[in-house]
Symmetry: C2
Amino acid sequence: MKIAILPGDGIGTEIVAEAVKVLKVLDLKFETESALVGGAAYEAHGHPLPESTLKLAKQADAILFGAVGDWKYDKLDRPLRPEQAILGLRKNLGLFANFRPAICYEQLTHASSLKPELVAGLDILIIRELTGDIYFGQPRGRRVATDGHFPGSEEAFDTMRYSRPEIERIAHVAFQAARKRGKRVTSVDKANVLETFQLWKDVVTEVGLQYPDVALDHMYVDNAAMQLVKAPKKFDVVVTGNMFGDILSDAAAMLTGSIGMLPSASLNDKNQGLYEPSHGSAPDIAGKGVANPLATILSAAMMLRFSLNQPEAAARIEKAVDTVLSQGLRTPDIYSEGTTKVGTVEMGDAVVKAL
Amino acid sequence: MKIAILPGDGIGTEIVAEAVKVLKVLDLKFETESALVGGAAYEAHGHPLPESTLKLAKQADAILFGAVGDWKYDKLDRPLRPEQAILGLRKNLGLFANFRPAICYEQLTHASSLKPELVAGLDILIIRELTGDIYFGQPRGRRVATDGHFPGSEEAFDTMRYSRPEIERIAHVAFQAARKRGKRVTSVDKANVLETFQLWKDVVTEVGLQYPDVALDHMYVDNAAMQLVKAPKKFDVVVTGNMFGDILSDAAAMLTGSIGMLPSASLNDKNQGLYEPSHGSAPDIAGKGVANPLATILSAAMMLRFSLNQPEAAARIEKAVDTVLSQGLRTPDIYSEGTTKVGTVEMGDAVVKAL
Ligand SMILES: CC(C)[C@H](C(=O)O)[C@@H](O)C(=O)O
Ligand SMILES: CC(C)[C@H](C(=O)O)[C@@H](O)C(=O)O
């Protein structure tokens, strides 16, 4: 088994180091190999996703990813910006199924901006399609408008699209995930306006017939954004497209109040996966030793479960994280009065000890 | 001056009746004419936006709109569904500038799902472009995929697009609105992924140079969804495209906790406008006399200010609404212990009395 370690930029290196430390003490049989990605790779090789990094990622059974991006790269041409690395990995490895749990840890309920009773015990799984939609649809670009409100003027355009098999496979992922949980799927669309999401709704409905034990409902994306704010606990599994999933999964993560705790997984049809924290590279706190490594450590646990077939080891890590929270250890992002403030390395050490 | 009254479906008729009652007691010089729209128009004329209704809307200086839609029309072909009426009005009248205030009334702070300190005094203005983007872009439809992940399979597609002048005019609206308020504009885009929103960002930046007194910042849509949940008071004016605006304005409205209070305006370049509550047709409570008419009454106030040049009358209505809230009158959607529960008509009567 081989794990590609891609720490990336900003706090990426610090948090990935802690996750690797945790993995190492488990004494499992796997090889690791590190490579540069994002801005760090651009600085060294002139490209955010160099051939060598992509090759390593393709060969590996799983990728442990930190985060990419920094304001200093904002002026680069789009194809050279750090976030192209993550889009390139998704596309080249066919990582179509993105799992984004939004969980509110009992010990951290107060950290949410929502009233505690609305989030206590929250446990939603957002499943976002990750290789289709307007992210990758062609054609796209700039041209002179030939119709619309201002023919003759410059316009920019993108193509939203989904094919039937793309929708089918992500729907199956959602229904199967729901079977192992609350047995409810909410499919989020905008079928009242978009052709793409009328097909989405039709196909998800069809696939749903194969899962009579799972309840399916449909919600427009604007309503889903409202219901997430109003009553998030009503959701179990949410499945949606790439663009809507980008927005809703971040909103859901933030409303737990502790995005620094939330892992994510992006899988292809061979269960090869990329595992990364839900938060970003946070250049403002990079190098200060204060970043929360728990989302990355929990991403490593997801990796053990989904791609490396080590569910017991995954559960051990998750239990250790629960233990350190109960011990009152907190990085600054989740700190509150009466708890003990610790740094990135101390938090990683505490998880190791709890193992 | 002529006002077209389009009550629509569900609670639409009840809430619009109260707003009309309020307008009538102001004794201003205007004519009103009513017409069917949405499901009601479909039942009577076989189309959600009959020619006669569209003609009336075009002739009027302003449209007071209730709400459209009911689950019973879900099975109709898309062009016949109630929501096509609202899309048709936007398109045919060129109502490109949608104003969606998200205000948290002092008397209702506790109704928010957010902690009171995060929403007390909240006053954001979301300006959503309303006639472009993926809502109206051509081509769109179904076809056999010729490339992508599954060539040969059925796919559906839509076109996202914005032209430079479309972006310029909505940007001017946003900067001018910000001048009358907190002098800050946040432009929401997804320039890291979409060509359309790279142009959006470029053009908004250019237009911003003409408003050196207004501070401009840019935010990705996923981050905007997070910041709305985390710290909504950091925003002043938010300007964004049709699709992102649909999602963010609903999320923002819901986090005030009292979407039943929030008006909206959709204007064209002649200041002709459509005014409607931010909430929907709520078929579940239609006909029960419990719907909150205040969002519609406040929409009528916006109409007086923006399209009918009666700012004093608008302010009188707004003050009257504040008075009834301070009197402790509440429809069920905003009711809490210690206040007085009233129905739709009683609430309308109370506003009339407060005038
Ligand atoms: C960095 C960006 C391209 C990316 C996305 O939009 O998918 C990010 O927001 C995410 O959700 O992983
Ligand atoms: C009904 C629907 C077409 C409409 C939209 O998406 O614009 C609605 O959600 C709105 O925001 O007015």
